[in-house]
């Protein structure tokens, strides 16, 4: 329910009209654990008279039960709405609350201070125009204060209110306030904030929230609500040209084809030239269709349906742009990324990216560096763990239209989704394109794979042998290759140990290196397929995700996963190379099966029970299956 203070209006129509004219401000509270963020929001709701009698009564009850303030009201309980939050007295997830003053309507996101829940803080910050950074006067600027301020700055929030809270606990001491303000300004100096307004408050006692507090006669700035009511927030896309990602192609009958979407920036009139990206086709706007009638003009923020004068091909995910100032198009970017998952970001792994209304496949090709949130120093690191921030190069499986995040938030922000769990695991901000799509043309060849293969009288196929160390992959692969050679087939075997001595001699056995190892081998094997060969690859390749990437690199039916399956204790008892012994002794780190996982194939093309079958019998199975599938033989 809205906080419309004591209703004093003569006429309801006038009142409603005045409500419509209010501007909307979206802000967040952030900062370290227990600095009083939720208490402040609870206080703001209470002061703007938006707590009803029945809610106040239940608040009083709950304060006695869960409150941190003895018999007093604990305002944080108004906001901490989950049972787990009330029990633990902390915020876990962001809460969205609403209130209004005479001048403005507010949507507040109260975010958690705990480092563990940083992703929820980022969720709140991504849609905010202003951030209240809370600091406990007794503690000053902490690591979480720095982390949150950094994220606020990255996400493009330019207005900060520094609420130095719990002034009641430091005797409303001006020196404490001045010192914290100076500290904060010093470290936030290059964050690009346009305004930092520091206010001494007590969220609990209500000092400097609505009125000037008598406890801080030395403070001559505005109280919090007055500041929020009057701070100027310029639209961050004010001067940006027309952009509208197409969400939905509206085709109720053969005579109507409309493109529906929300305008992210700029404005548009019938007759204006638009260009569809990434295709680059241009047309003119015929009509701006809404249920209330056609519009003469549409502006930033509106959801509309456009029809065009020409029949150009536009589908969901394409972006309609001002013809004269189109967005950029590329499939490779440099981006800033915040990682939000417990499983680390691994370069080379395939993820899903959502940008605008488009989903595509992405890979981090390289992480340039990681940023220490405390010092902002650049650190060498190939991966990103939970809550870490890095600068990365990204490659997509197709072209997308974008603007740099700093020019247009909603045209340059993207999320990263794990292909297997479907979790949102990262957020990214595009800094710039690494190459322009128009500059690259993949070399098209006159002699193709099919021709090369048919000259050899065979069908190219990739046999991917996976399994534990010592399972017998190389032995079986070797026997299969001999049989194929005897049948006159052209083959090549890529073997883990051999490739690691050459092409991949710069890689170790960390998760990130294992991913890169497989990516390179996959690319090489793909080139060999293209040459028309039957390629045998014999690699432990412990991760399902990487094997799947290779599968997706090639055409359907070309990738054959051969699972050489033995139980760990069998492989370990064979221990041909003595490696298990060393791993058990701790002399080898990250050894598959011992202290690094092996993810068995769930649905391999060929499953070999190598515990029971001899290598010769296993090779027979492989050959028989290839014959059955018509890939080799008579």
């Amino acid at each position: 329910m809205d906080g419309y203070a004591a209703p004093d209006f003569a006429n309801i129509e006038e009142y409603l009209d005045s409500q419509l004219k209010k501007s909307l401000l979206r802000f967040i509270t952030c900062g370290s654990v227990d600095d009083g963020k939720s208490t402040l929001i609870g206080r703001l709701l209470y002061e703007s008279k938006m707590i009803f009698d029945d809610q106040l009564a239940s608040l009083k009850n709950e304060s006695k039960k869960f409150g941190t303030q003895g018999e007093e009201i604990d305002f944080a309980l108004l906001v901490d709405g989950l049972a787990a939050e009330r029990e633990q007295g902390i915020t876990i997830d962001v809460a969205y609350r609403f209130f209004a003053t005479e001048r403005r309507k507010y949507i507040v996101a109260d975010t958690p201070g705990h480092e563990q829940y940083t992703r929820n803080m980022a969720t709140g910050a991504s849609t905010a125009d202003l951030a209240i950074v809370m600091i406990d006067a007794r503690k000053g600027v902490l690591t979480q204060t720095r982390r949150h301020s950094f994220i606020v700055s990255l996400l493009g929030i330019r207005n900060v209110v520094l609420c130095i809270n719990k002034m009641d606990l430091v005797g409303y001491d001006r020196d404490v306030f001045d010192k914290i303000e100076a500290d904060y300004r010093a470290f936030a100096a290059d964050f690009g904030f346009e305004n930092i307004q520091a206010i001494p408050v007590s969220a609990l006692a209500g000092d400097n929230i609505v009125d000037h507090s008598e406890n801080t006669p030395w403070y001559d700035g505005p109280p919090l609500i007055e500041y929020l009511d009057t701070v100027e927030i310029a639209s961050d896309v004010k001067d940006q040209p027309f952009r509208m990602p197409v969400q939905w192609v509206n085709r109720p009958n053969l005579d109507f084809r409309g493109f529906a979407g929300q305008i992210l920036s700029g404005s548009l009139k019938p007759g204006d030239g638009v260009r569809a990206l990434p295709s680059g086709k241009s047309s003119k706007v015929a009509r701006i269709v809404t249920m209330g009638g056609d519009l003469d003009e549409a502006v930033e923020g509106q959801s509309v349906t456009l029809t065009l004068e020409d029949e150009i091909d536009v589908s969901r995910g394409d972006v309609l742009c001002a013809d004269k100032q189109p967005a950029e198009v590329s499939d490779q970017f440099q981006a800033t990324m915040l990682w939000m998952s417990d499983s680390a970001m691994l370069p080379g792994r395939s993820y899903v990216m959502k940008i605008g209304a488009r989903e595509c496949q992405m890979q981090v090709t390289e992480q340039r560096y990681r940023i220490d949130v405390n010092t902002r120093a650049h650190e060498a690191a190939k991966t990103l763990d939970l809550n870490e921030i890095g600068i990365v190069n990204i490659a997509l499986d197709r072209d997308v239209a974008f603007d740099a995040y700093q020019d247009n938030r909603r045209m340059g922000g993207f999320i990263v989704i794990d292909r297997m769990t479907n979790e949102t695991v990262g957020l990214g901000l595009i800094n710039f394109a690494l190459r322009r799509a128009s500059n690259i043309h993949r070399q098209s060849m006159d002699i193709g794979k099919e021709l090369r293969a048919s000259m050899k009288g065979q069908k190219p196929v990739m046999l991917w042998f996976t399994g534990l160390s010592g399972a017998g992959k190389s032995t079986v692969a070797n026997l299969v290759e001999k049989r194929l050679a005897a049948m006159g087939k052209h083959t090549y075997t890529l073997d883990g140990d051999n490739v690691r001595h050459g092409l991949n001699n710069d890689l170790g056995f960390t998760d990130a290196d294992r991913v890169e190892n497989i990516r390179r081998v996959g690319e090489v094997a793909k080139l060999m397929l293209d040459a028309g060969l039957i390629v045998l690859v014999s690699f432990i390749s412990p991760f399902r995700a990487e094997r799947r990437i290779v599968r997706q690199m090639v055409e359907d039916g070309e990738f054959w996963e051969v699972f050489v399956d033995v139980p760990l204790d069998v492989a370990e008892s064979r221990d041909v190379k003595g490696l298990y012994k060393k791993a058990r002794a701790g002399e080898i780190k990250n050894f598959t099966g011992i202290d690094s996982p092996y993810e068995a194939p769930t649905d391999p093309e060929i499953h070999i029970d190598a515990d029971r079958l001899s290598p010769e019998a296993a090779a027979d199975v492989v050959i028989a299956r290839l014959e059955q599938a018509g890939l080799i033989g008579s």
Binding site: I12, D93, G258, Q262, T305, G413, I417
Partner: protein
């Protein structure tokens, strides 16, 4: 240059969300509860897909204890070529004779509403259910994402919600899983009424004050909507000028005395009120976290 009002922006955001669901899910459905929020949602859906029809059906989970006027209002939708209405009743519940008087409000709501909803979602294999819940309604709703993930058992896990950045909604799920989508998350009760006024949206007459037969129970005024309400000894239905701030099962929905018979009068009355909208709902009172628990179990 056109400048957008606060309501214009809310409307545009909701339309964007509705189009995202329609475009990214295989088989979405819109929950239609016949109340004012559902009426606003339906209006927004018409706008989002105009001039085309709404590309998903509406679903009403009928507990068999709704006000008669609600059912009449709902059935009028069958004449509208732009919408497709599905009605689901938990037949097992009916066979067991579940009702608010015999089994209490908690069991009734769980069986007829929550279980009924889950049955319907499973029956039609909907992978997205669009609902009209607002964040300002209740503390745990204030914590909910716009695209809110549900497990194959329809459970909500408030502690592991997917981060939701900008207006990029992650709609990816595995077979059997689903999402609940809340396009009017950021609207307040006042926004809803003001929008109903601005757009002239049709509502069930129960929202407007009229003489109706009621009895008073545990401080709640219950309307005698049919013969199934067991009267206690000495209890006499009285005619009072009342209206409803929210609509549900009639025995569980409290009326308020009122003379507001137009939308502006309702807004005026609301501005002077000192209790929240949900106070008239028996369902939320059991325990402070009861809404959260119900939602975890699959309630809307």
């Amino acid at each position: 240059m056109t400048t957008l009002t606060h309501l214009d922006r809310l409307e545009a955001e909701s339309i964007h969300i509705l189009r995202e669901v329609a475009a990214s899910m295989q088989n979405p459905v819109m929950m239609y509860s016949i109340g004012k929020d559902s009426s606003v949602l339906l209006h927004l859906a018409r706008k989002a897909f105009y001039p085309g029809p709404i590309p998903f059906p509406l679903l009403h989970v009928d507990t068999t204890w709704k006000f008669k006027e609600m059912i009449a209002f709902r059935d009028a939708l069958n004449d509208d070529p732009q919408t497709e209405l599905l009605v689901h009743i938990n037949q097992e519940g009916v066979e067991q004779g579940i009702g608010p008087f015999t089994h209490g409000s908690a069991v009734h709501t769980d069986v007829m509403k929550t279980q009924g909803l889950k049955q319907a979602l499973d029956k039609y294999k909907f992978d997205a259910a669009i609902g009209g819940a607002r964040r300002d309604e209740e503390k745990s709703r204030a914590k909910e994402r716009i695209f809110s993930f549900r497990s194959a058992q329809h459970r909500w896990d408030p502690k592991t919600q997917r981060p939701e950045l900008w207006s990029l909604y992650n709609a990816r799920i595995k077979p059997g899983e689903s999402v609940r989508v809340f396009p009017i998350s950021n609207w307040t009760e006042l926004d809803i009424w003001q929008y109903i006024y601005q757009e002239n949206i049709d509502l069930v007459p129960l929202y407007f004050a009229a003489e109706r037969p009621v009895v008073e129970r545990d401080g709640i005024m219950v309307m005698v909507d049919d013969g199934r309400l067991p009267l206690e000894p000495g209890e006499e239905p009285m005619m009072k000028k009342v209206r409803f701030r929210t609509l549900g099962c009639y025995p569980l929905t409290g009326a308020v005395e009122s003379s507001a018979s137009t939308v502006t009068e309702i807004i005026e009355e609301m501005l002077r009120t000192t209790t929240s909208e949900r106070e008239g709902r028996a369902i939320d009172k059991d325990a402070p976290a009861s809404m959260e628990m119900k939602k975890q179990e699959g309630y809307f």
